[in-house]
């Protein structure tokens, strides 16, 4: 039976947005280079040891101004006590399967420059075509493209299939 957002029961906590995710780095400057020079994300250093990150285009006058966005909140620490695994990754979406292949080739070529620990080969699974890479701080990233019928908002409208 399909379950869509319209059928959600009242919850104990009336949250309105999943707004931010947090993680750690041992080198904020190097992490910022990864965001800006590799992933094309916008960064601001809001404290000496912390960075907010969002997708580009949300400044006043830009195409996405006024639309909601997810914020990544990155803190610098001397040592990361709890290194992340692949199943705790962050995903970025690109416009086409070819873009995934181009991204993979670019990261393989620049692996040492950005201190990447691993860059896995692209593969197709569940309507997504993607590859994973692990940054210098053991944070994992997925670069993905999804066909329209497997994109996240489409899946919400379809509802459960199991």
């Amino acid at each position: 039976m399909a379950t869509t957002q319209l059928e959600r029961p009242a919850s104990a906590i009336r949250t309105t947005s999943l707004e931010r995710g947090t993680f750690l780095t041992t080198d904020l400057v190097a992490m910022r280079r990864l965001f800006e020079e590799v992933l094309d994300l916008e960064c601001v250093r809001y404290a000496p040891d912390a960075l907010y990150v969002r997708e580009r285009g949300h400044r006043p006058g830009e195409p996405l101004a006024g639309q909601p966005y997810l914020v990544l909140d990155v803190h610098e620490v001397p040592v990361i006590a709890n290194p992340q695994a692949m199943l705790n990754h962050w995903g970025v979406f690109v416009a086409s399967q070819s873009d995934v292949d181009r991204a993979y080739a670019a990261l393989v070529e620049n692996k040492e420059r950005y201190g990447l620990r691993k860059v896995q080969k692209p593969r197709a699974a569940h309507g997504a075509y993607s590859f994973y890479f692990e940054d210098a701080d053991c944070n994992w990233w997925e670069v993905e493209h999804r066909i329209v019928k497997r994109q996240y908002e489409t899946l919400r409208a379809i509802g459960d299939v199991v």
Partner: protein, 143 residues
């Protein structure tokens, strides 16, 4: 300078759970997240935007995360943060929530954290999107 991977969009984060249906009761019934199961081994959670939180069921107890790796959910007012903590305490036993932190307040933003049965951390706060807009406009702090 053109980025190596231009024009990306943040699409998802990922967490683990032991069992989709058990954790779904908490995500929907307590945290107020939407949830859809396109696969037997995963549910996609969302609230307030096109991005998702992919929750993968591993069939075993996931490794507990530290609070420095958490997901933050917004409520509308400071009073709702307090009400949310009361609601979390009331639901703690039923949903095997491991820990619920005290209310913290900083620059008018109230918040608290909780550690769920699967070892994932959640923060509830009344921070607004205008706050982030302002921080990005203001630019970097001096270091």
């Amino acid at each position: 300078m053109t980025a190596l991977i231009p024009r990306t969009r943040l699409s998802h984060g990922t967490i683990e759970c032991e069992d989709c249906l058990t954790s779904r009761r908490f995500y929907q019934g307590v945290l107020g997240l939407g949830s859809v199961r396109p696969l037997a081994e995963a549910q996609y959670l969302w609230s307030g935007g096109p991005w998702s939180l992919v929750c993968v069921a591993i069939g075993d107890q996931p490794k507990a995360q530290g609070v420095e790796n958490r997901f933050c959910l917004r409520v509308d007012t400071a009073a709702e943060v307090d009400a949310a903590r009361d609601a979390a305490l009331a639901a703690q036993a039923d949903h095997h929530v491991r820990e619920i932190g005290p209310i913290d307040e900083h620059a008018g933003v109230r918040s608290f954290v909780m550690h769920d049965r699967d070892g994932n951390w959640w923060e509830i706060s009344n921070v607004t999107s205008a706050y982030y807009d302002e921080v990005f406009l203001r630019g970097d702090v001096a270091v």
